[in-house]
């Protein structure tokens, strides 16, 4: 997959990129690289805001009793922390990667629908402005959990439901537009000769994720609309008094919610599958099995939703069905982990920061996967349900899974984005501090959960005090460590060692055939893909 377009493209740089100056460049931009940058910065800012909320949660839980916040505000913190991290940090970060990398990886000059691309980013800040503004209102922010179960969010809402619903609508529209753009780009803009099975795995995972988004974000839009009409317009979708059923809410929500968790992990698979071969200096092991595994995880995600609801009083048959389907997902996931390990097997590995984050991803994501398997077992789920074991599980897959892959990808492509090498020493500090603190933060939560500490409660019994102290210390350390990343990125943008077109000698893909930093316009003429 080599090309000879480098020369032609490097002209662009010298002839000026006719960018607008100042803020207008960013407001009016239709350039996929600019929009990718906007998404990534937005996601990082949201990560810091969501992280700050988590710091208050951990401060409150540092010792038993109520000391810093009152229980209602604590509920608002956990709710908004979850919403911000899911919809504000992880998902936009992945969309940022998609915008930056997909056109360059398939040899396209830009995304297929550049104007819609601008629109889909710029409505996002408004969504989160609405959501965060509720903190400053008399009624307070949403306090019903990020899963907004009815009737907590309808009958017992504190008045923030409307703001919440509109914010989610805007996020959903943004995600759908972004996903449509990704699908159209991948279907129509691939360079001649790049068949589907020649696409980088990164592109494949985003392709499948985009389809998941298109399929389930409308369901989310539907369920929040029902919530809105139930709360303010007297309908009874989830109100038993009017013939509705609150359990129905959980079914619809998790019909969206379970594919949603794969939306947040499949792109991570793509990033890690790009990085591990580069630093193992070997081809990715089992490319086609990776594609099929990703697709089967996506398909299975539609028939496992009720494993979130084992304790709602399902009949035995339902519990068994959802238990076995859920455990089935471990098969394609196992294929993936096997392939990553096999890629590293006997490779001439080197351990630059992207690789460190990727290896940590493989190990820690697998731990998260195993705790997921434990939760899938219906009989024991009755004990684990709504405890810190669940919290530990989904933070292992979302923080040491998704977030670590995002860091790995950011370090991997920073030289391509900025034209400078990042500071490897500082980056390694970021990695090791993150690795230690994140495990201190989340690993003891497994034990807390098994011992029966419930989630979403601002106080706890005395016997949980020691573990919670360590968890909080890990939390503060992990939070502070992320500022190192900010320093690395700012340093890297400002200067540093000049990056060559391909700074990683094992890396493959069209993005490394253009100079670093990537010119404003790349692949105006499509590259030729050779067999």
């Amino acid at each position: 997959m080599t090309t000879d377009v480098i020369e032609q493209d490097s002209h662009d740089e010298h002839h000026g990129d006719h960018k607008l100056k100042g803020i207008k460049r960013w407001l009016y931009t239709t350039n996929h690289k600019d929009i990718g940058t906007l998404y990534l910065w937005f996601a990082f800012i949201m990560l810091l805001i969501g992280g700050a909320l988590a710091m208050v949660i951990r401060a409150e839980l540092f010792q038993p009793g109520l000391q810093i916040v009152d229980p209602d505000f604590f509920n608002q913190l956990t709710t908004v922390h979850g919403l911000i991290m899911v919809f504000g940090a992880i998902m936009p970060a992945f969309t940022g990667f998609a915008n930056w990398m997909i056109p360059m990886m398939v040899g396209a000059p830009d995304m297929a629908l550049p104007r819609m691309n601008n629109w889909s980013f710029w409505i996002l800040p408004f969504a989160f402005a609405i959501l965060l503004s509720t903190f400053f209102m008399e009624s307070g922010a949403p306090n019903f959990g990020w899963t907004f179960y009815a009737p907590l969010s309808t009958t017992y809402s504190n008045g923030s439901t409307a703001f919440f619903v509109f914010a989610v609508h805007i996020m959903g529209i943004s995600s759908i537009m972004g996903a449509i753009n990704i699908v159209v780009t991948i279907m129509n803009m691939r360079a001649p000769g790049m068949t589907y099975m020649k696409m980088p795995l990164f592109v494949w995972t985003f392709f499948i994720t985009a389809y998941l988004l298109i399929a389930v974000m409308p369901i989310l839009a539907g369920v929040v609309t029902m919530l809105l009409t139930d709360t303010y317009f007297g309908t009874s979708f989830f109100d038993a008094a009017g013939g509705g059923d609150p359990v129905l809410f959980q079914h619809i929500f998790w019909f969206f919610g379970h594919p949603e968790v794969y939306i947040m992990i499949l792109p991570a698979f793509g990033i890690v599958s790009t990085i591990i071969p580069a630093f193992a200096r070997k081809q990715l092991f089992g490319y086609s099995s990776m594609v099929y595994a990703t697709a089967s995880i996506a398909i299975l995600s539609f028939i496992v939703w009720a494993h979130h609801m084992f304790t709602t009083g399902m009949p035995l048959f339902g519990e068994l069905f959802f238990m076995y389907c859920t455990m089935l997902i471990a098969v394609p996931t196992g294929v993936k982990v096997f392939n990553w390990v096999a890629t590293m097997w006997r490779g001439s590995m080197s351990f630059e920061t992207p690789m460190l984050f990727s290896i940590a991803f493989v190990i820690l994501f697998t731990i998260g996967g195993f705790s997921g398997l434990m939760l899938a077992l219906t009989p024991v789920d009755f004990q684990y349900h709504d405890t810190y074991f669940v919290v530990a599980h989904f933070h292992y897959v979302l923080v040491t899974g998704s977030l670590f892959s995002i860091y790995a990808g950011a370090y991997f492509w920073l030289p391509k984005w900025t034209g400078h090498m990042y500071n490897e020493t500082l980056a390694k500090w970021h990695f090791w501090c993150s690795l230690i603190s994140v495990n201190l933060l989340f690993f003891p939560m497994h034990f807390l959960g098994l011992a029966g500490m419930p989630r979403r409660i601002p106080d706890y019994a005395l016997q949980f005090a020691d573990f919670n102290k360590w968890v909080s210390i890990g939390g503060f350390a992990f939070g502070l460590t992320q500022l190192i990343f900010l320093a690395v990125v700012i340093k890297c943008i400002r200067g540093g060692e000049k990056a060559p077109a391909k700074p990683w000698d094992g890396a493959e893909g069209l993005e490394w055939t253009v100079p670093s930093p990537a010119p404003y316009h790349t692949f105006s003429t499509p590259p030729k893909i050779e067999d």
Partner: protein, 194 residues
């Protein structure tokens, strides 16, 4: 204008038009999925009801009166029917079954009464919502007459005895010997007025 753009412009006129057409075709298809799934979200509501109706999974009893047409009362079997009542948050009524438990033969018709009193100084309309446990037995619990079929208005301090006439279908699975009928009373005054 730079070289890259010139190159693009030369091909822009026809191939780009074809590309745009191709793109909008895909976009239209994808938008169809989006709207379809939005609709499907709402379609899940009646689908859920139908699904529960057929399988009897969520313990909901029929909202229509049953017609008594049992030919043979199964006097060999005895089924215990328990009655539970609770009031939803915000309805200041006393609401309880006048009989806690009753033993019936499948097919035998019975009449029980529930007592309700509006303890407040305002008029309130109540609505009782039934649920049967175990859920699978709901389909076999037949109500000929029930106060839950209609809304119950009570003036301030007014009290009422409300009737429930029912029979247990003789087809009730053998392994079920106890049924629990639970009523939750909701305040629907606001909903009725608006």
């Amino acid at each position: 204008m730079n070289k890259g753009d010139e190159l693009q412009n030369s091909t822009n006129t026809d191939s780009a038009k074809a590309k745009a057409k191709q793109n909008s075709k895909v976009v239209k298809k994808l938008m169809l999925i989006v709207f379809g799934m939005f609709g499907f979200g709402f379609a899940l509501v009646p689908l859920y009801d139908v699904f529960c109706d057929i399988t009897g999974l969520n313990g909901k009893t029929s909202t229509n009166a049953a017609v008594y047409n049992v030919e043979q009362i199964d006097t060999k079997r005895i089924v215990t029917v328990q009655f539970i009542s609770r009031t939803a948050q915000g309805i200041p009524w006393t609401f309880e079954p006048m009989v806690r438990e009753i033993k019936v033969h499948p097919g035998e018709m019975k009449l029980v009464k529930f007592y309700a009193k509006n303890e407040s100084t305002r008029d309130i309309i109540g609505q009782a919502v039934p649920s049967v446990s175990p859920g699978l037995a709901a389909a076999y619990f037949q109500k000929i007459e029930c106060f839950c079929f209609t809304q119950q208005p009570l003036k301030a301090n007014e009290e009422v005895e409300m009737a429930l006439q029912f029979y247990v279908d003789p087809e009730l699975p053998e392994n079920i010997s106890t049924l629990t009928l639970s009523y939750t009373l909701y305040d629907v005054t606001g909903k009725v007025k608006s």
